[in-house]
């Protein structure tokens, strides 16, 4: 029998725009997933999506320039988890989550870059990107199934 509905809870943390710092965001997400009793595979996927989104913000919104802030807001309830990754850099000009249609046998065609958004779009149930008032936010939602 399902328990009573849980009111959403939110945690926010700020990541300085250095790729070396992204792992901290990753392990924080992993910790929250463990607290929520998610499976190891689901925890890995959620960590992966946050890491990809923060990497994108550092590389593309801030052009790898240090000294900027990427904000990670995690909101969870018993039904879903919402991951908001926000920056105040350049907005994404093109949101393209498609995986290049490649032939696994064609070495030259194998993709080396540009897989981050595809991974996010594949793992998450809903992904939106907004750019308002000099703040860009990638919102990723995933329904929760406990292990």
């Amino acid at each position: 029998m399902p328990g009573p509905a849980q009111s959403p809870k939110t945690i926010t943390f700020l990541v300085d725009s250095k790729l070396k710092n992204v792992s901290l965001a990753g392990v924080a997400v992993r910790g929250i997933c463990s607290y929520l009793s998610l499976s190891d595979v689901d925890a890995y996927y959620l960590e992966l999506c946050v890491v990809e989104a923060v990497n994108n913000a550092i590389r593309h919104a801030y052009d790898n320039e240090e000294g900027h802030v990427v904000e990670v807001d995690i909101t969870y309830s018993s039904e879903e988890i919402v991951l908001d990754i926000s920056d105040r850099g350049k907005p994404m000009s093109l949101y393209n989550p498609a995986l290049p249609d490649y032939d696994p046998a064609d070495l030259k065609a194998l993709p080396e870059h540009g897989l981050g958004l595809y991974i996010i779009n594949t793992v998450m149930d809903q992904v939106t990107y907004t750019s308002e008032d000099n703040r860009n936010t990638l919102r990723m939602k995933k329904k929760l199934y406990r292990s």
């Binding site: 790729l19 070396k20 992966l48 990809e52 990497n55 070495l107 194998l110 981050g116």
Partner: protein
Amino acid sequence: MEIDEKKVGDVLVVLPREKRIDASVSTGFKGRMVDWINQGNRRIVLDLSQVDFIDSSGLGAIVSSLKTLGTEGDLVICGIRETVMGLFKITRMNRVFQIFANESEAIEALSR
């Protein structure tokens, strides 16, 4: 990035000692792999048994290594964890790389 390497016959076994192959280390990792390939190594086993997280940058570095090796050599993977295997499946790279349960199976496959 700490990486162990050893030669078994003409097979080079590469064992990253870090838990993460992510955007902060992927360029360095790729550089080491390219160095080993340029030194003449053509059969390489990448043992991922110590690695519990790879992002798309780390995966890109592994793919880039395979492309550098070209059709004259082979790069296979072993020891991959179920979680990391998920990344390979999502991106369909499990159809690109031969993946073995452990190092000895991978070496045996490359030594045939």
